[in-house]
């Protein structure tokens, strides 16, 4: 399994993401955003966290029009797995690969801390190694993670079961207090209709080792790597 980690100017989670894939036995390479055709021969595309283009205009907006994004869109349309974390999620929304938008956190504060999310779907290529409804301890680090969409989109997301991660409290309940940014329905991560494009605000690549506080992010990468090894 070979993953491409796309680096934009201002990305800062790219090396952690590459490390996370390698940690679970996959192969990962950094690909610069200007490399057209650079995604050939890759099995998965990962968009990292960070502050691409300084978050100018809107988080992820300028990155979503980077040269490589046409290749990312083509890769996604062909069914290839695409994962966007934090700024990567914002970029996927701006590129319309995922519906909705991530706006300023409700309380206007940047939130960098450990939170909990519940796995709402363990039947995606990204989550098979989790238990259904498993509660994960995982860090967030964002100022614009407040997921918004129009009512019809939200109803469709919920109706089709496309919410993959939801902010919850210690008992696994999606309460207001456990919502770090005001996101609709405590949404922390969603998947596209075809089930191959996942966007999430929390950082699984920062929860790989006990020494860093949690290993709950690792199963996402083992899920992805094993699903691609099986399909290869």
């Amino acid at each position: 399994m070979k993953a491409a980690v796309v680096t934009f100017p201002g990305s800062n989670g790219d090396f952690d993401l590459r490390e996370a894939v390698q940690w679970v036995g996959g192969e990962a390479h950094i690909v610069w955003h200007r490399e057209r055709g650079g995604l050939k021969n890759y099995d998965a595309v990962l968009l990292p966290g960070g502050f691409s283009y300084g978050d100018y205009l809107r988080a992820g907006a300028i990155a979503s029009l980077s040269p490589i994004m046409e290749d990312v869109v083509a890769f996604a349309k062909a069914g290839g797995p695409v994962l966007g974390i934090c700024n990567g999620f914002q970029t996927l929304c701006e590129a319309r690969l995922l519906p909705g938008a991530l706006i300023r956190n409700e309380q206007l504060r940047f939130e960098g801390r450990d939170i909990r999310v519940r796995v709402e779907r363990n039947d995606t290529v990204f989550t098979t190694d989790y238990r259904q409804a498993q509660v994960l301890a995982i860090p967030i680090a964002h100022g614009e993670g407040n997921y918004e969409a129009d009512k019809a989109t939200l109803e469709r997301l919920e109706g089709d079961g496309r919410v993959v991660f939801r902010y919850v409290d210690a008992r696994g309940e999606p309460t207001e207090e456990s919502n770090p940014n005001g996101a609709w329905h405590n949404i922390a991560g969603i998947i596209n209709e075809a089930g191959n494009v996942l966007g999430m605000m929390p950082h699984p690549e920062r929860a790989m080792e006990q020494i860093l506080g949690s290993t709950d992010g690792a199963a996402l990468f083992t899920s992805l790597v094993s699903s691609l090894v099986e399909s290869a």
């Binding site: 809107r58 907006a61 909705g100 938008a101 706006i103 969409a149 005001g182």
Partner: protein, 86 residues
């Protein structure tokens, strides 16, 4: 071709939560303006460009809004000719 100065206003869509507007609203009220009913924060973008006509300049700005400057999920936009560069 003539040089045109455009003012593009990008505004949060009605009904959408605007956390910045809410915070500023609270600040204005506590500073002694309890009559303030609502505050919404948008942005103004000033673009200078060469175009064949006013219409052409406005059309180009509208295309820029659709492609990059506004997010249709959360924002509305207006384009207008501005007198001069701010």
């Amino acid at each position: 071709m003539s040089r045109y100065h455009l003012e593009i206003r990008v505004k949060p869509r009605p009904g959408l939560l605007d956390p910045q507007g809410k915070a500023i609203h609270g600040a204005l009220r506590s500073l002694g303006w309890p009559e303030v009913d609502e505050v919404r924060v948008g942005k103004a973008i000033y673009v200078d460009l060469d175009a064949a006509s006013e219409r052409d300049a406005l059309d180009k700005a509208t295309a820029m809004c659709r492609k990059l400057l506004a997010n249709p999920v959360t924002e509305d936009f207006e384009v207008a000719l501005a007198g001069a560069r701010p």
